[in-house]
Symmetry: C2
Subunit: 281 residues, 2 copies
């Protein structure tokens, strides 16, 4: 297992905080530095044991780090990786944890100084809740992390990035940034959009009669509206494609209900159950 002398985490929310906590509890880092703009978040991150030290200065924070992980909202990642690349140690490995990949990896590809080792990644872990106060050293255990190299990525850097996530207990899969965004549109971004539409469409007076079904189906609608606005805009094209497919299925369901077409309705519900059962709890 690789051990890092100094790791810098840019953005110590739930994901960044959990990475720091896992690195520290697993004894994988000599020192973890948390970098952020808000002193209060940095204080919480330190108090819960997510980081050893903190800095509000990106250049100072990443100095001498062998590994830098950028865990900020997707709209800021490209700029921040560029800033990191300008000031970090030569030969430092840089990755991110953004929920979209094409604009980030594409935006950085070819525009980083020669020799900078950046490989994009996306841990499929998280929660509708946010902030370093909820960081957990076990957040990535058993979860999947998608690694999305660019055509220019060095094989050894891709492998080092995969090893990092595996050392936190995750499994890794590798695909192109475009493949990632198309798949995540259906697997994550559309579910969030649909959950939000469902919660928003529920009349206030019906809320007291909701039970576990509504609660499960709308849980992720409690996520941060600003973060998800960024993700939806960033992955606009694939998300709209996934929405088209969803609306097509919904239309078939509507027609079956209107016509009391039992065969079509039951068959579609069976198909849905089949897919849901395949994934498990």
């Amino acid at each position: 297992m690789q051990r890092w002398n100094r790791v810098a985490i840019v953005g110590v929310g739930l994901i960044g905080g959990s990475i720091g906590m896992a690195l520290r509890q697993r004894g994988l880092a000599g020192q973890v530095v948390g970098i952020g703009r808000r002193p209060e978040s940095l204080r919480v991150a330190k108090r819960v044991g997510a980081v050893d030290s903190t800095s509000t200065s990106l250049p100072r924070g990443v100095a001498d780090a062998e590994l830098v992980i950028v865990c900020t909202p997707v709209e800021h990642i490209v700029d921040q990786v560029r800033s990191v690349a300008q000031t970090c140690a030569e030969n430092a490995l840089i990755t991110d944890a953004g929920s979209t990949k094409a604009s980030i990896v594409g935006g950085l590809n070819g525009s980083l100084p020669r020799g900078v080792r950046f490989v994009g990644s996306h841990p499929l872990a998280g929660s509708e809740k946010s902030g370093p106060g909820l960081a957990s050293a076990t957040l990535f255990e058993g979860r999947t992390v998608v690694i999305t190299p660019s055509p220019n990525s060095q094989r050894r850097d891709v492998q080092a990035t995969a090893r990092l996530w595996k050392s936190l207990g995750a499994k890794t899969v590798e695909c192109t940034p475009e493949e990632h965004d198309a798949a995540l549109a259906a697997a994550s971004h559309l579910p969030h959009l649909v959950a939000s539409a469902l919660a928003a469409a529920t009349p206030q007076k019906c809320l007291p009669l909701t039970a576990t079904g509504w609660a499960d189906t709308t849980r992720i609608a409690a996520g941060d509206p600003e973060l998800w606005t960024q993700i939806f805009f960033d992955n606009q094209r694939h998300l709209l494609g996934a929405l088209d497919a969803f609306e097509q299925v919904l239309k078939t369901l509507r027609t079956a209900i209107e016509r009391k077409d039992r065969r079509t309705l039951t068959k579609l519900l069976q198909e849905a159950k089949h897919k849901r059962d395949a994934v498990g709890s």
Copy 2:
């Protein structure tokens, strides 16, 4: 707390089994009889302690019962309450646990022999899983049960029905069958439809990249397709109305994403979050 000498439960799935188990564990019934068509389900119900005895004969099972609870799929409830009414003891209290109420309460209103004490109810508890093997004596604790009297219901029967559910640990609310069906269309039936559409619309190849968000949002799509077909058809009018409202919100979200209209998108996501936060976990 009222104690019943003999309680008959028609249909010993998750709900019927849990009622029997709760009555027995709380010492509220001298004997609980489980009635069903499938000997295997009855055996399981007895083995897990949901019932004291079983019968595949409705007339024999309900004979001498002071309380009969019909927990079968919604399409069968009207016929079964009629059968129960023909053979149960005079003065027995009859209720049901169906997920729709207007067709059941309306279908029975005025058509039951004089003196039969039927009051409809719907416990807002359950799971995407089914069968007596998963019955739990605590299923109703802290949950809401909707009691839906007809214009002909006697006050004392409505109160006795509410007392029954409260004795199992539930809270009760009372409304008309129509009010129930309109509210549950938005609070339960539409979420199920949307969860099923989302699961069915997810491409098979994307399933390995789903995480907790997809899993939560689609969980109830694992429910029994036949039961939910019945519920969707039975509550067709209100469900289509709730679907209209949902599609309207979804259309607004789509347009905001297409136009990158940040203000509208974030505002709607905030409204969704606000409603979701109000309900809690």
